[in-house]
């Protein structure tokens, strides 16, 4: 499923667009960077409450489909700017991580 479709279905707010046509293969959830480095696969969407600047580098280095900050977590303006500059898709949602994950799981399994 393409990123823009995921954004629409989950009702995410887009802060940095990245590549809306990028295919979201699967997803990964974690707030620790090394764990994402180890566990996330290229094309994964990363759902997290980690808002630090480093999320942009991790998403970029790992070729992730994008980053979703849940639970109303808002990144600093510098983080948004960096994501735009690097072409990394950055989205936010007021909904809790668990709900987003549950819904996305259904979507990506083709049962949404």
């Amino acid at each position: 499923m393409r990123l823009k479709e995921v954004v629409e279905r989950l009702g995410l707010e887009v802060l940095a667009q990245g590549d809306p046509d990028k295919e979201v293969n699967w997803a990964y959830t974690s707030d620790l960077l090394s764990d994402v480095m180890a566990g996330a696969q290229p094309g994964d969407l990363w759902l997290t409450i980690q808002r630090h600047m480093n999320i942009v580098a991790v998403a970029k280095l790992r070729d992730l489909a994008g980053v979703v900050l849940a639970k109303g977590i808002k990144p600093a303006q510098e983080v948004v700017g960096k994501a735009q500059e690097e072409g990394v898709a950055l989205m936010v949602s007021d909904r809790p991580l668990f709900e987003l994950c549950g819904e996305l799981y259904q979507l990506l399994r083709g049962r949404g």
């Binding site: 620790l32 090394s34 180890a38 630090h52 600047m53 580098a57 991790v58 280095l61 790992r62």
Partner: protein, 147 residues
């Protein structure tokens, strides 16, 4: 492709906002040098973890050298920081001496060194307390995965 040497220095600023800048640059340089995607990905993980550790555990930072050869990419990381007392322990997944407050910034899973080893075909870490730490890593290139 002939042999190419890329050298970078990581400066430890005390703020962690810059972490990832050097590894992002390394990724870009290797892509531009025509290194296949899968190899770039593995090198990127190794360099990112090295960069995080330099920022977190050394006062001044350190150097990363990346050597691209036809058959492999060789990575050297060097610092003159505090060194590691028990290397075997440090290599264990989950082992971390990172202070709790940096967990909030996403550090401290204790996965950095294991990630580096996992993504390397050869990995060697030598360290001396009070002198510093050296890492030598080799990633063999797999041409069938050429991007």
């Amino acid at each position: 492709m002939e042999r190419r040497v890329f050298a970078y220095s990581v400066v430890s600023t005390g703020s962690f906002d810059d972490v990832g800048v050097v590894s992002t640059e390394i990724k870009r340089d290797l892509e531009e040098a025509g290194v296949e995607r899968e190899t770039v990905r593995r090198v990127a993980v190794i360099c990112f973890e090295a960069e995080m550790n330099l920022a977190l555990y050394t006062e001044r930072g350190g150097n990363i050298e990346v050597v691209v050869e036809p058959e492999k990419v060789v990575i050297y990381v060097e610092d003159d920081g505090p060194g590691i007392e028990d290397v075997e322990k440090a290599m264990q997944p989950g082992y971390s001496t990172a202070p709790l407050w940096v967990h909030e910034l996403g550090f401290g899973a204790g996965m950095g060194l294991p990630n580096m080893k996992e993504n390397s075909d050869f990995f060697e870490l030598t360290s001396e307390v009070g002198k510093g730490t050296k890492i030598h890593s080799v990633v063999f290139r797999r041409r069938e995965n050429a991007a």
